[in-house]
Amino acid sequence: MTIPPATIRFSGVGQVFRTRTGTVEALRSVDMSIDRHEFVAVLGPSGCGKSTLLRLTSGLLKPTRGTVEVFGLEITEPRDDIGIVFQRPTLLPWASIEDNVVFPVRHKTGRVTTQDRETARALLEKVSLKGFENRLPDELSGGMQQRVGIARALFMDPDILLMDEPFSALDALTREEMGFELLRIWEDRPKTVMFITHSIGEAVLLADRVLVMSERPGIVVENLKIDLPRPRNMETSNHKLMHDYVGHLRSLLLKRAA
């Protein structure tokens, strides 16, 4: 019997950046893995190397030490089966919403088929943006723009979705709404998700597991499984375990900060 390999596995990963003023050790030694279709939130203080984890997984960055494997293969360059959602939506201001969603295929191959356009329209409907296909990004609110960013990341139907504090620029209410919407999409079409955040509540509410990073140089200091029932919704926020998890993580982060 073979054990199925984890979707994402970090083994002794260290990352050192060279800057003008010297070197910065972003990651000391990170060991962790994420299983197939697991939703994992990475939590930590700002500047702790959370985004570095994401860039290493995407193949945009090579680790200084250790190995990063995706589907059992060491990652040496970006893969086609990974979608990225950034902190800012960063849409193309001159392109319509639909053109922004099909942008990955236009950029990669130079061609957009009618099939691609149908896929894009279906995705826009899924992120509740039906009827906005021909608008320009400027005409949409921040939350709506980030939905377009999510649709763009989902366009190639990736197995892995990397999200770098995707909702941190949104107001609290929109943020919560977007979280549940993301869960609906994820439950509908399961994907392995690495979700970077600095919000404890958001991490607990969304994830199957929360990894806590230390401040720089980063290591994983906590690996907390979240046993809250799914599907999660507004009710979940009132679940009695929710308070325990949030309390535990908060005291952990506060203790480390002190």
Binding site: L60, I84, T90, L92, P93, W94, P104, H107, K108
Partner: protein
């Protein structure tokens, strides 16, 4: 009494009514009206001052006398002069764009190239075009070529600098997206970097189009047998001051029209690149 106050306090507070703007304020709100009024006022003051203080026309001719300067030359000669300057300015301008944008792309792509050639660009820019024009004319003869080269020299620096800045100002996330898709580099340039540089490119295009007229005129000052710059120089040497002023007015109009043409191109084809109107 108490009833009505209760009703009004329970409903939404009344919108404060802004005072009705006066007729004058509303009339002046029409776009372009205010600058037109101030322009006419200045011309009128100019005209009256010339009459009142008896200013000799070789120092400052009155606007009415400048208008007379147009009549001294037949319209076909005018068109000939206008076309002479306009042609050199436009050829130089477009040649400059064709050279500047590829240079900007290579400077933005390679830090090595940028470090190697940027100081040289600054040297070129620091060389006064008026000083180098006679040297270029000696080297390249008296045809169109030296005039186009002079026009290129004066227009190309703002284009290179601004385009390079624009190419570097692309959101890093989109470059990461491009890398994560393993897209070819030329598509990163054409589909992401160049479109993002459009606002920067247009601000340089606006500056350079007026500079191109200056370049053409400077070249005509050195060696030419037609063109508005030539006309002005020729007229002053003959002491036909009104005619020189008339040439100047046409030059200013040409610059304005060219500038507005660039503004119109941006507004029609790149409306998203304009600053947001509040």
């Amino acid at each position: 009494m108490s009833d009505t106050s209760a009703v009004s306090s329970s409903s939404a507070p009344p919108e404060p009514v802004p005072p009705r703007p006066s007729v004058l304020t509303r009339a002046l709100a029409a776009p372009g009206l205010l600058p037109a009024v101030s322009f006419i006022a200045i011309v009128a003051i100019w005209e009256i001052s010339c009459l009142l203080f008896n200013i000799p026309s070789y120092i400052l001719p009155a606007p009415s006398r400048i208008a007379g300067g147009f009549d001294a030359i037949p319209i076909t000669r005018w068109l000939d002069h206008v076309w002479g300057t306009l042609r050199v300015a436009l050829i130089g301008y477009f040649a400059s764009i064709a050279i500047a944008i590829p240079i900007a792309i290579s400077l933005a792509r390679s830090e090595l190239l940028s470090r190697a050639f940027y100081p040289m660009l600054v040297v070129v820019q620091s060389t006064p075009v008026v000083a180098i024009a006679p040297i270029i004319i000696v080297g390249l003869g008296s045809g169109d070529l030296p005039r186009v080269v002079i026009t290129c020299l004066i227009t190309f620096f703002p284009l290179v600098v601004s385009t390079t800045t624009g190419l570097m100002a692309t959101p890093p996330e989109l470059i990461e997206l491009s890398r994560s898709l393993r897209a070819p580099v030329w598509r990163e340039i054409t589909q992401i970097r160049l479109p993002f540089a459009i606002p920067y490119i247009f601000s340089a295009l606006k500056i350079s189009v007026t500079l191109s007229v200056i370049g053409a005129v400077v070249a005509e000052f050195v060696a030419a047998d037609k063109g508005l710059g030539y006309l002005i120089q020729f007229s002053t040497s003959m002491f036909k001051i009104q005619q020189a002023w008339a040439g100047l007015v046409v030059l200013v109009l040409m610059s304005l029209v060219l500038f507005q043409a660039v503004v119109a191109v941006q507004r029609i084809w790149f409306p998203w690149s304009l600053p947001k109107e509040k």
